[in-house]
Each structure stands twice: as C-alpha cells, then as structure tokens.
C-alpha cells in the first residue's frame, strides 16, 4: 500500500502549480490513471483526503480518469487495445506485443482553481 505517498505526491504537484498561478485554492484535481501504473484507484481516493489536510487542496475532489492499455500491434501496425492486463495481446488479431503506448500514466492533467 503506497497510495498515501502517491497521494502526497499528487498534492505536492498540484500545490506547486496552484501557487505558481496565484490560486487561492484548488477545487478539483484531474488525474489520469493507467492500469500499469501500479496504483489502485480506491486506495488512492481513500488516502487523498488525508494528504490534502491543511494544504491548498483541503476539501478538493480527486477526479480519476481510468484509461485502458494501448499497444502498438506489430501485425495490424496500428495502436490497439489489449485482451486484458494479464494478456498483452492485440484485442483484434491476438498477436502478443510488449510495445506499450499507453497504460502506465499517473498524471495530473488539469486543475480547477479558485
């Protein structure tokens, strides 16, 4: 369970951005989360409130956009979805591929500032 330290990093990144823009507070943090980031959504949401305590983010909402894995399929020669996180094969033609284009994201994409 390392989601608390991840939540604290989110708060750090968001505070830094908010301060540099002269914001009085942060209402919403938008986060993009990939299935290969190693972070569990529920545990992160649970830790987030604690991490926000006594910061510019106090009382803010964490909006998580869960994305899917996208690989480059060597057979289709196109970006494709995979069968599952346990089976990194092209969802269209079944070719296995380790070439991951998306899915490791753990990124603050936007902030709603006051």
């Amino acid at each position: 369970m390392h989601e608390l330290s991840i939540a604290m990093s989110i708060v750090e990144v968001a505070c830094e951005e908010a301060e540099s823009r002269g914001a009085l507070g942060v209402d919403v943090v938008h986060l993009r989360l990939g299935p290969l980031s190693g972070v569990v959504k529920e545990a992160l949401l649970f830790s987030y409130e604690v991490a926000c305590h006594q910061t510019l983010l106090e009382g803010s909402t964490l909006l998580i956009e869960e994305i899917s894995i996208l690989v480059n399929c060597p057979s289709c020669q196109q970006p494709r979805a995979v069968q599952s996180v346990q089976s990194l094969c092209c969802a269209e033609c079944g070719t296995p591929t380790p070439e991951i284009l998306e899915g490791r994201e753990l990124m603050v994409t936007a902030l709603e500032l006051r």
């Binding site: 369970m1 390392h2 330290s5 991840i6 990093s9 989110i10 750090e12 990144v13 968001a14 951005e17 823009r21 009085l24 209402d27 986060l31 299935p35 290969l36 980031s37 190693g38 972070v39 996180v85 346990q86 089976s87 990194l88 094969c89 296995p96 591929t97 380790p98 991951i100 753990l106 990124m107 603050v108 994409t109 936007a110 902030l111 709603e112 500032l113 006051r114």
Partner: protein
C-alpha cells in the same frame, strides 16, 4: 469577491520528482560504465540468496557492490557482507518500496567509477516497487518455484515493469511439482518476449549462464559509455 473557478491544463507526472532523480542516477551509472541491476520479488523468493551467490561469483573478476532495502532489519546486509563486497542497507521504516532518492542517499561516499556492477535489492513486495524508477539499467523480477505458477497473472504490473524474470529455487521444483511450462506461459502473457532464466542459488544450477548474461550486458553498457565519451 470570490473569483470564478478556472480550469487549467497541467499534464505533470505525479512521480516527476522521483523520475528526475532516477534519470540523474541512470546518467551517473552510464558515465561510470557500471551496470545497475535491481531485484524485485515477493518476500522469501530468494533475492538475498541470489545476490549473495552472484556477488561471490562475480567478485574475483569484477568490482561489485549492493544496496539492500528492508523495512526494519540489517540482516540482509550482514548476510551479503559474507561475500566481502561493499554492501549498504537501506532501512525504509514503514515505506514498502525503494525510491530513487533513497538510492541516491545510500550512494553518498561511494566512488561509482570503481564499480562494474551495482545491485539494488528492493523491499520484498510485488505491488509498490513497480511504480518507482530507481535509475537501474535492468530490473529483475524473481519468482520462486515454491510460489505458484500464477504469480505473474496476479501481479502483472510488476512483471510488466521488469526486464528479466528469474525462476529461483529450481532445486525444489520437483518436490513442489512446479509446472515450469505454465509459469513461462504466464510470464509471456503479461510481458510478451520477456527473457526468463531458471536457476538455483543453492546448488548453482543455471548460475553460470546467468552470469554470462550479466557480463554481456555490462560489456554493452561499457561500450555505450565509451562511445559517448
């Protein structure tokens, strides 16, 4: 007057601080011409035994050192010190994984130019270490034959973050009826094309082939470093 809420685009990696330190470490390793290898696995998969054997076998021909992460004890460093290689323990306290800054701090006072191989043993944990880049050139994930063939399917993220899978404790495979084909199939399913080695740190089976692989990688990284100088 309360200002209107405004939406600003940010696009910042949450672990950017860790990633920056990891990048700096990777650059230092490259300039020193050493090969940095990290080990991840669940507790009890044989990371320390593997490392002890590896350090001992590499020692006559190479300059080797190790950092070992542990929640509470220095037992691993004491075990590894028997190989007579420089070893430093990183005690993480309550933290369940190593971060790049911990590696950076632990390397204080070490002249990396005097090293050929640096091993970094992560805390025994198949979940949390996957998120953190430590600046290593290669990440090995260990899977003991006693653990069950479906570990890769249960922990796909860490297998996906690693470069090589090592099946350890091969001397016990028959006793526990280890299904090697199933284990290899599961590894390939979560990380297609992954290199898989099978060995026993106890009997030495498979160790020599593996050391050849390590030495080959070291030569490649030394060559890359010479070209860039």
């Amino acid at each position: 007057m309360i200002p209107e809420p405004r939406l600003v685009e940010v696009r910042k990696n949450v672990l950017k601080q860790n990633d920056m330190i990891a990048r700096a470490l990777r650059e230092r390793f490259r300039e020193s011409g050493l090969l940095a290898v990290s080990l991840v696995s669940s507790p009890g998969s044989g990371k320390t035994a593997f490392l002890e054997k590896t350090l001992t076998l590499l020692q006559p021909r190479h300059r080797v050192a190790a950092l070992v992460g542990d929640l509470a004890t220095e037992n691993d460093a004491a075990r590894l010190a028997r190989s007579h290689a420089p070893v430093k323990q990183i005690i993480t306290g309550t933290v369940c994984h190593l971060e790049a800054a911990m590696v950076q701090n632990a390397l204080n006072g070490w002249d990396l130019n005097n090293l050929d191989f640096l091993f970094i043993e992560n805390v025994g944990n198949l979940v949390c270490p996957s998120s953190y880049d430590l600046g290593e050139d290669l990440r090995f994930v260990l899977l003991a034959v006693t653990e069950g063939e479906d570990k890769p399917l249960k922990y796909p993220t860490i297998f996906n973050s690693a470069d090589v899978a090592i099946i350890t404790k091969s001397d016990l495979a028959d006793a526990v009826e280890f299904d090697e084909a199933a284990a290899r199939r599961n590894i390939q399913s979560v990380r297609p094309g992954m290199k898989v080695s099978k060995l026993s740190s106890k009997t030495g089976e498979g160790m020599m082939e593996f050391l050849d692989y390590l030495e080959m990688n070291r030569r490649n990284c030394r060559a890359a470093s010479a070209v860039s100088k």
